[in-house]
């Protein structure tokens, strides 16, 4: 399980850095979230 936790921690760090610094990733995340939010609200 320790290796799994490390993988998850690494994935979270990579995800945060990607959203902050890779162009277009934040927009993709927002677009996907918007899709699910709209579905939940209707």
């Amino acid at each position: 399980m320790k290796a799994f936790y490390l993988c998850i921690a690494g994935a979270i760090v990579v995800m945060v850095l990607a959203v902050l610094f890779v162009p277009g990733v934040d927009d993709f995340v927002e677009q996907t979230f918007q899709r699910y939010l709209g579905r939940a609200a209707s």
């Binding site: 399980m1 995800m15 959203v19 995340v29 677009q31 979230f33």
Partner: protein, 171 residues
């Protein structure tokens, strides 16, 4: 039992990744000059401030969304808008649903302090949001909304409180 607990832990850990992505994107947008899609943005800074006579708002009927910032709190969001009979309107749907009430907090904030700034085509307009929840004009406004957007807004949904409609008056 142990396997079940582990499976739940694995599931929770995996869920953390998209949750972190969404939270990071939302926080990042708060520091931006305006909103992007659904997350609130920071104050509307760029763009010249409109002064002079009231514009002919008909031009907004060909614009899909506008940016709106409340004075308190000074966050901004992208919203639908429509012009009807020379007046400008914005609204918020899903207000009777649980998700809608959690998601849409600006209508309640606008009712407390209606001062707002709109940014349309790079020009900022100072407005005052006045909620309208009854009256004959609702039929025409709802018709204008449904003509422009795939919306189910009707006079009944506005009067029932499921849609909060605001007229954006000059300050």
């Amino acid at each position: 039992m142990k396997i079940l607990i582990r499976a739940i832990i694995v599931l929770l850990c995996l869920t953390l990744i998209p949750i972190t992505a969404v939270a990071t994107a939302a926080i990042k947008q708060r520091f931006a000059d305006g909103p992007n899609r659904v997350f609130s943005g920071g104050p509307l800074i760029s763009g010249t401030l409109h002064s002079g006579p009231e514009p002919d708002w008909q031009f907004v009927n060909s614009i899909p969304t506008i940016e709106m910032q409340l004075q308190v709190p000074s966050t901004s969001r992208r919203i639908w808008t429509v012009e009807h009979a020379g007046k400008l309107y914005v609204w918020s749907g899903y207000m009777n649903s649980q998700v809608g009430r959690l998601w849409k907090q600006w209508p309640a904030q606008a009712q407390e302090n209606g001062n707002a700034v709109f940014r349309i085509d790079g020009i900022r307009y100072e407005r005052f949001l006045q909620r309208i929840d009854s009256g004959e004009a609702l039929d025409g406004i709802a018709a204008a909304i449904t003509a422009k957007y795939p919306s189910q807004t009707t006079r009944a949904t506005i009067e029932s409180g499921n849609v909060w409609l605001f007229e954006a008056r000059p300050r």
